[in-house]
């Protein structure tokens, strides 16, 4: 943990078999084990801009979907959607309630499964 932070951070760059660049980013709050985020990011080759595709969040805060006007209490998964992007909202502004994990380790496993991330000869925990 670096100075001036109340959280642990892990950033793991990944390159897909066809050369696309991704990053798995994990943030875990030291004060509250339910405050975490496991993130899958994609870098657009031309602009080098990173887009958040998925974000598996803990349950220490509520989330509001601005278009659907619904509130989620508890674990939730942010998903990049075109409709949020087109309306000028954050691309990861939409989220769905989650019941498949209750800590960041499990959230990471669920994300790897959901997003079909396989690392040849290694698991992500080997990094």
């Amino acid at each position: 943990m670096k100075k001036g932070r109340q959280y642990k951070e892990y950033d793991l760059p990944l390159t897909s078999s066809n050369g696309n660049k991704f990053q798995v980013r994990i943030r875990v709050n030291d004060n509250n084990p339910f405050d975490f985020s496991v993130i899958l990011m994609y870098q657009e080759p031309q602009s080098k801009y990173w887009y958040i595709l998925r974000r598996y969040n803990g349950k220490n805060h509520t989330h509001k979907n601005k278009i659907e006007k619904e509130r989620i209490l508890g674990y939730h998964i942010h998903k990049a959607t075109e409709r949020y992007q087109l309306r000028g909202y954050n691309i990861d502004g939409y989220a769905e309630e989650a019941s498949t994990y209750s800590n960041w380790h499990d959230a990471l496993s669920v994300m790897l499964y959901d997003c079909n991330i396989k690392i040849e000869g290694k698991t992500i925990y080997d990094y």
Binding site: K2, G4, R5, Q6, R27, N29, N31, K64
Partner: protein
């Protein structure tokens, strides 16, 4: 507001981040009394989007410090808290929410790519790469005592490296003219241009700069990613 732990109350408000997540606000008691805290969440949340406030210097840091000062917020190693004075819970909560909103807006500043912040980030990164070899806003003392041909970052190497922070068409043209002047004065040098946003440069100027500036990076982000390998390959470090 609901209790979650001893002398710990979670305060749920409709205020939050751009992505729809609410602010984390918790009312807690310690030896100095009651206070509202974000339990370190706010800065963690901003880090999802590469806004690293604890490591930030310059104007962005100064904005952050001003917000804390204005709202009597304490930054305890990344945890933001506001003390409740004289049982004025509502006032403290309102001030805390205002401060969190302003801090969140710092990410908006990042998105806007304000030029002064770009230049600060440019300088910071060049110092990180080339250290003491950098001279910023350099002009050649012998041929240009009036400072008409300024190099944004001059790197003192066997073969000097001229690096330009390119914020728009005018700065691109300045960089081209400066490169031509150095050539005219008989210098052998390498040159790099880092665009604030290459897509904002007109095609004609972009083509001209490609002819006269050796290597170009489309944004500072791309420079940060690709420059270390480039400088190594070209033996520029």
């Amino acid at each position: 507001m609901f209790q979650e732990g001893i002398e710990r109350y979670v305060v749920d408000t409709p205020f939050g981040f751009d992505d729809g997540d609410s602010f984390v606000i918790v009312l807690k008691k310690d030896e100095d009394g009651w206070h509202f805290t974000d339990e370190g969440h706010t800065l963690m949340h901003l880090s999802y989007y590469d806004l690293d406030i604890p490591s930030t210097k310059g104007k962005r840091r100064s904005f952050f410090n001003n917000i804390l000062e204005t709202h009597n917020i304490e930054d305890i190693n990344g945890e933001l808290i506001i003390r409740v004075e004289n049982e004025q819970y509502g006032d403290s909560l309102f001030s805390f929410i205002q401060a969190l909103t302003k801090i969140t807006d710092l990410s908006f500043i990042r998105k806007q790519h304000i030029s002064s912040l770009f230049k600060e980030d440019f300088k910071e990164y060049m110092k990180h790469i080339f250290g003491d070899k950098c001279t910023f806003s350099y002009s050649e003392p012998k041929h240009d005592p009036d400072g008409n041909y300024v190099v944004d970052c001059y790197v003192d190497l066997d073969r000097p490296l001229l690096i330009f922070a390119l914020t728009g068409d005018y700065r691109c043209k300045d960089a081209i003219i400066t490169c031509l002047a150095f050539k005219e004065w008989g210098y052998t040098f390498n040159s790099i241009g880092v665009f604030e946003e290459s897509k904002n440069i007109s095609p004609k100027v972009l083509a001209q700069s490609m002819d006269w500036v050796d290597k170009q990076f489309s944004t500072l982000t791309s420079a940060k990613e690709l420059m270390p390998e480039y400088t190594k390959k070209m033996a520029l470090c």
